[in-house]
């Protein structure tokens, strides 16, 4: 897993609630293996029209946001399907942080497994950040996981501030170290084996 420590990068505002994983990566692409690269497929139907033409209005197609590594979204980002391909598409397109008032639970979980940091900030603050980023294209945010802060936007004359990132200590530890949870969980093998013995005795029908 790619570790995450600190990022100082252009942030793009995505002004829509309930951006579901079908929009992040449409179902027709899911048979493709990860190795094929999913970056080109991120937001495919929002980014391009049916004939493949680029939609110039979509935020990530605008020149100032093309280098964005951070997205600031609205409520319930990543809702819907459990497809981890949505996280792969974001990561492969260079997005390492998504800030939103709330996330789909499964997307939120999947993010941590791949080194993508989802940050929950209050709805009003997300709206303020999106407005500042929209009026100051190319403005940056600094995301520091160790310090648990989001700072900025830098390069903008409005909406600047420091926000605290709330994160479970275990998730923070795994992200900072880049250790994946299979390796981490296998270190609990003795506890797992002892539990399974007890469980089988208590619930023999299972």
């Amino acid at each position: 897993m790619q570790k995450f420590e600190r990022l100082d990068a252009v942030a793009a505002p995505l002004d829509a609630a309930n951006v579901d994983t079908d929009q992040i990566i449409p179902a027709r692409f899911l048979w493709r293996p990860r190795a094929d690269g999913y970056g080109q497929l991120l937001f495919n139907d929002l980014r391009t029209s049916e004939d493949g033409a680029v939609k110039p209005d979509f935020v990530l197609n605008r020149p100032a946001y093309q280098a964005a590594n951070i997205l600031v979204a609205d409520r319930n980002f990543g809702c819907g399907s459990s497809r981890e391909h949505a996280v792969w598409a974001l990561m492969d397109a260079g997005i390492r942080v998504v800030i939103a008032p709330s996330f789909g639970d499964i997307f939120f979980n999947n993010s941590f497994k791949n080194g993508l940091l989802p940050v929950v900030l209050p709805q009003a603050r997300c709206a303020e950040l999106r407005a500042a980023l929209a009026r100051n294209p190319g403005a940056k945010l600094v995301v520091d996981l160790e310090a648990q802060t989001v700072t900025g936007p830098t390069g903008a004359s409005e909406g600047c501030g420091v926000d605290r990132i709330e994160i479970d200590p275990l998730r923070k530890q795994l992200l900072l170290s880049g250790m994946d949870d299979i390796t981490f969980t296998l270190s609990q093998a003795d506890n797992i084996a002892a539990f399974e013995k007890r469980f089988a005795a208590e619930m023999p029908w299972v």
Partner: protein
């Protein structure tokens, strides 16, 4: 349960969580044992991770598979999956099941079907168990009093390797529906009304327990429909406490406990319902009598209105953000504010999916289709081979065929279109599935979520129709 355990009031969720906790770290991260893991033809990445890391699947006897997302509904011959990459998704599941020794209900086996139909049907899903599957609609299984939720590919691999996964404890929400449902109002309408009330993010971070007389009186099929769409309210899981309906449904199913084991299991199950004094973090209540047949008009399941109502006007939205979102949804859906829901013309009907492809759903749709004729293309896709066989034994397939509906082979089909069953761009579909997302049923497709009876009513009239008008005594 011991007297000591009864002393601290606990919810159904609390009891299952405690029973599956391997360890809890001081920071709250909890390692949970997974009692049942379902896999399907979209679980390839999990198997590949296992392979790459040289790990074995820890508990093949707790892992069950069936192909559903990529299978053709025209025929279950492998060759019917004409696109080779998609066919490989199915054949790779077959190979993986063989290699790892897991039980597979493969194409050609009458037990094959949508994972969330097959699990309960086979008795794999049981009260009080923690279940996962690499599919967001895993919450379905909560209908039997299980704690069940969807996971991503990385966690699928983790569960395969360790039979465990990490969770932080979710909050609890009780949704009570009181009173009794009116005629023609179905479980699908209940869950759409709940989502419309709490919102598509209303349940984020919560596990919902559905409680009250409406769910007590509801069949297992109905409870499965309700729990299935918990994820569309943003909830991690949804569940209904087990009762006599649950036990009667489970008894005798192939993978349900038998004999003395049944009695031992039953004792555990009977102690599962939430204690009377148990506290929930949030309580929501709805009046069943106020729920009407529902139709979604937008691009989120929260965008639902009674069939007797009209398409809402963004100008009346409570906030600028909501106004923009509604306007965007209506533009995509090609609808004008204020138009009557019943005036919405429909191009196509899909009856199927893990939400509404069980025998009761098909009976309910057939009752409306009987003696009428579809005015638009309509297809019925049973949730499993066994549902299909049961429907055929009851003659429902003949009712559908006589009415001009297509009768297809089991699979996820047009709910997600991964097998090529797609709604054309701009086409409007009345669908019994669970998601009306932009592009969900195909690029540019316009989806209206409805109950099976309402879908059949749309098929025979060519527009959204209050199914109550077509019921016995109606026109």
């Amino acid at each position: 349960m011991t007297a000591a355990k009864r002393a601290a009031p606990a919810t159904l969720f609390d009891k299952i969580w405690a029973r599956h906790t391997i360890l809890e770290r001081p920071d709250g991260a909890t390692l949970l044992h997974v009692a049942r893991h379902l896999v399907h033809d979209g679980s390839r990445a999990g198997f590949r991770t296992l392979q790459e890391r040289g790990l074995r699947l820890r508990h093949p006897e707790c892992t069950f598979g069936t192909p559903d997302h990529y299978v053709s509904t025209k025929s279950h011959a492998l060759a019917a999956i004409t696109e080779p990459h998609r066919r490989e998704m199915v054949t790779e599941l077959t190979a993986n099941a063989k290699q790892h020794g897991i039980t597979l209900f493969d194409l050609g086996d009458v037990r094959q079907g949508i994972a969330h139909v097959v699990g309960p049907e086979q008795g794999i899903t049981q009260p009080g168990l923690l279940m996962v599957c690499g599919d967001s609609h895993t919450a379905t299984h909560g209908a039997l009093g299980a704690l069940a939720f969807g996971i991503g590919a990385s966690e699928v691999a983790l569960v395969m390797a360790t039979q465990a996964l990490w969770q932080s404890r979710p909050k609890s929400m009780r949704v009570s529906v009181n009173g009794a449902l009116g005629a023609g109002v179905t479980p699908k309408d209940v869950i759409l009304a709940i989502i419309a009330k709490i919102g598509a993010a209303g349940g984020v971070g919560h596990v919902i327990e559905y409680a009250g007389p409406v769910f007590r009186a509801m069949s297992m099929e109905g409870r499965l429909t309700v729990c299935n769409m918990s994820i569309e309210a943003g909830a991690r899981a949804g569940m209904v406490a087990p009762d006599e309906t649950t036990y009667a449904y489970l008894k005798g199913r192939p993978y349900a406990p038998q004999g003395a084991m049944w009695d031992q299991a039953l004792a555990y199950w009977r102690a599962l319902p939430s204690d009377a004094e148990a506290q929930f973090d949030r309580e929501v209540a709805l009046d069943a009598g106020a729920i009407e047949p529902m139709v979604t008009w937008g691009t989120s399941p929260e965008d639902a209105a009674p069939v007797t109502g009209s398409v809402p006007d963004p100008a009346q939205a409570p906030s600028a953000e909501r106004r923009e979102a509604m306007a965007r949804a209506l533009a995509y859906m090609g609808l004008a504010p204020g138009m009557a829901i019943e005036a919405i013309k429909v191009d196509r009907v899909f009856i199927g999916s893990c939400t509404n492809a069980r025998i009761e759903d098909l009976r309910s749709a057939a009752a409306v289709a009987k003696g009428r004729t579809a005015r638009i293309p309509a297809m019925v896709v049973a949730g499993s081979g066994l549902v299909k066989a049961q429907a055929e034994a009851e003659g429902l397939h003949q009712v559908f065929l006589d009415a001009g509906f297509e009768w297809r082979e089991p699979g996820c089909s047009m709910c997600v279109g991964m097998n090529g069953d797609l709604v054309a761009p701009g086409e409007r579909c009345a669908s019994t599935s669970n998601r009306n997302f932009v592009g969900r049923q195909g690029r540019g497709a316009r989806t209206h979520l409805v109950s099976p009876a309402m879908a059949a009513a749309a098929a025979v009239s060519g527009h959204m129709t209050d199914v109550r008008k077509l019921m016995a005594g109606g026109a």
